[in-house]
């Protein structure tokens, strides 16, 4: 499947949850399949921390650049683009095409950098709603995402209850735990204390806080994998013929994390990383309801599919069950899968016959 990334420009200012106003913005997106005449088959796919609008397929001029959820989305796949019109979008604040810290601030003519506002899940959903308007989609057949993407799928059902028929919420949490926030804070501290960060205004200085980004990615990556998955993949295997008795990479896992960190620091923007982790930290739809998630979901009208993975310790199954409980309290139509997969949080991106069969069955029952 050959796809072409597109951009939609919005010139009406977007008021953000923080009170700041984004005077104008662009959303990068891709579409797969055809919108039917009734406009009833659109599915919005929301991405997690380091992904983009490139959900599926590949580019004509870059055939190796395959979308991050290509195993899930495409012709004949569980989210079947022969039947559904699927939209991948990149959230604002990202560094992959939508307006973000690397974009030009119209007020100064220079990159936003540190001045780009802190954006939230609610802001992303509000921006996505503008994209839906632009594409002529009044109501989505489904909004779907994993991890941070799942928060967007949840928020859609709260911000625009009438515009979502199904909310598919995978590897989610209704709010970050203290431990989750703690990991994010270590990542942020790694970035902001990097001497090349310059308070977020490093674009002018022609440097990148590579060391900070590297460590941020390393610590993040640890939370995406289960203990068992790491042990299975690396064990205590050595990179060298024997222990070095120095501080080089003795073990495979060290070398792997260094490699992941190095790779990440070449393509990801530090200002974006700070903002995304804040968006995660701030998300808490129950906060306005005295912490009562059931009250928060009282306005939801969608049907829900909630999926967790038993080895996910970042957003554990128990967190998904909190969402299920809140939905049951509101008598929403909901199904819940707790898939006994070993890989940890990352399982939501990986092939698993049970996971895929379940999603295929669920999508199969969405009437168009």
């Amino acid at each position: 499947m050959i796809v072409t990334p597109q951009k939609a420009r919005f010139t009406e200012p977007l008021k953000l949850k923080s009170g700041a106003v984004l005077p104008e913005f662009e959303i990068a997106y891709e579409t797969y399949g055809e919108l039917n005449a009734a406009r009833s088959n659109a599915v919005l796919v929301c991405h997690a921390l380091n992904a983009s609008h490139h959900v599926a397929g590949s580019y004509a001029d870059d055939p190796d650049n395959v979308g991050w959820w290509d195993n899930m989305v495409g012709p004949g796949k569980p989210l079947d683009t022969d039947r559904f019109f699927v939209i991948g979008n990149n959230y604002i604040g990202s560094c992959f095409g939508s307006t973000g810290p690397t974009s030009v601030n119209p007020a100064t003519g220079r990159p936003w950098g540190a001045d780009f506002p802190v954006v939230t899940v609610e802001d992303w959903v509000a921006a996505q709603a503008r994209l839906a308007d632009r594409l002529g989609i009044e109501r989505f057949a489904a909004v779907m995402g994993g991890s941070l993407g799942a928060m967007q799928a949840l928020q859609w059902s709260l911000s625009y209850p009438q515009r979502v028929r199904n909310s598919i919420v995978i590897a989610a949490t209704p709010k970050l735990s203290a431990q989750n926030i703690a990991f994010n804070e270590v990542a942020r501290q790694a970035i902001v204390t990097d001497p090349d960060f310059h308070g977020g205004h490093y674009y002018d200085k022609a440097v990148v806080p590579v060391r900070g980004l590297r460590i941020a990615r390393m610590i993040g990556h640890i939370t995406y994998l289960s203990d068992d998955a790491m042990m299975e993949k690396f064990g205590r295997n050595l990179r060298r013929s024997a222990l070095g008795f120095d501080f080089g990479a003795d073990f495979e896992v060290e070398s792997y994390l260094r490699h992941q960190g190095d790779k990440f620091s070449t393509y990801f923007d530090a200002n974006t990383y700070l903002r995304i982790t804040k968006a995660l930290d701030y998300y808490d739809p129950a906060a306005d309801f005295g912490g009562d998630l059931s009250k928060a979901f009282a306005r939801a009208q969608a049907d829900f599919l909630v999926v967790s993975f038993t080895s996910d310790w970042r957003f554990s199954s128990a967190r998904s069950r909190e969402i299920v409980r809140a939905l049951l309290d509101n008598r929403r139509i909901v199904s819940y899968l707790d898939i006994d997969a070993p890989q940890g949080h990352d399982a939501f991106l990986l092939d698993d016959a049970r996971y895929f069969a379940a999603l295929r069955a669920y999508f199969g029952n969405i009437a168009l």
Binding site: R321, R325, L328, D329, R331, I339, R354, Y362, N365
Partner: protein, 191 residues
């Protein structure tokens, strides 16, 4: 009369139903079609969960042994435990939970006091194997068998009221010597 029909007759039109150990969701599908009773199934087996989704039945993949914490007090009209009681490790807490989350409970199970089972133990000297209990003793999901008398004693201990009882053999109601002649029992109980 089948077990399915027995249970369906006990579910009021439009009642909210929770089916514990719902398998492929056939009962819930039947209750929706015949009684317009919406519900949720709880099932742990991956293939059965997927079958429920295919059958367009709301299914929650959870372990009944962990209790019913996902459900609020009195959030259902009827909680059903159909031929699953014998596969549960801790029956007492689950039965209590059923009548916490629901006004009424329907419980059905294969009767271990059925004469064919008794004969297999008493005369042949081996654990019963039958249409209702098709497993060998070393390869069975069933861990706690009981008879009608046993179950009614447990209901009494838990303070449950038995509202109705139907005993079946080969799809036919049994009224004479049910604990001996019935292969399957279904109870409707309340707290």
């Amino acid at each position: 009369m089948t077990e399915l029909e027995t249970i369906a007759r006990w579910v009021a039109p439009g009642a909210r139903v929770l089916d514990l150990g719902c398998g492929d969701g056939r009962l819930l599908q039947h209750l929706w079609k015949t009684r317009q009773a919406p519900g949720y199934g709880v099932e742990i087996d991956d293939a059965k969960v997927t079958a429920c989704l295919k059958n367009d039945v709301n299914v929650l993949q959870m372990d009944l042994e962990d209790g019913l914490a996902a459900f609020a007090d009195r959030s259902f009209d009827t909680a059903i435990l159909s031929e699953t009681l014998q596969a549960i490790h801790r029956q007492e807490p689950l039965l209590r939970e059923m009548l916490r989350v629901s006004r009424e409970a329907i419980v059905s199970f294969p009767n271990f006091g059925y004469w064919r089972a008794r004969i297999q133990i008493a005369l042949a000297g081996h654990m019963p194997v039958s249409k209702e209990l098709p497993y060998q003793w070393y390869d069975t999901p069933n861990v706690h068998h009981c008879t009608l008398i046993d179950f009614e004693a447990l209901c009494a201990k838990l303070g449950f009221r038995v509202l109705e009882r139907v005993v079946l053999t080969g799809g036919k109601p049994v009224s004479l010597l049910p604990n001996l002649l019935g292969s399957l029992a279904a109870y409707r109980v309340s707290a």
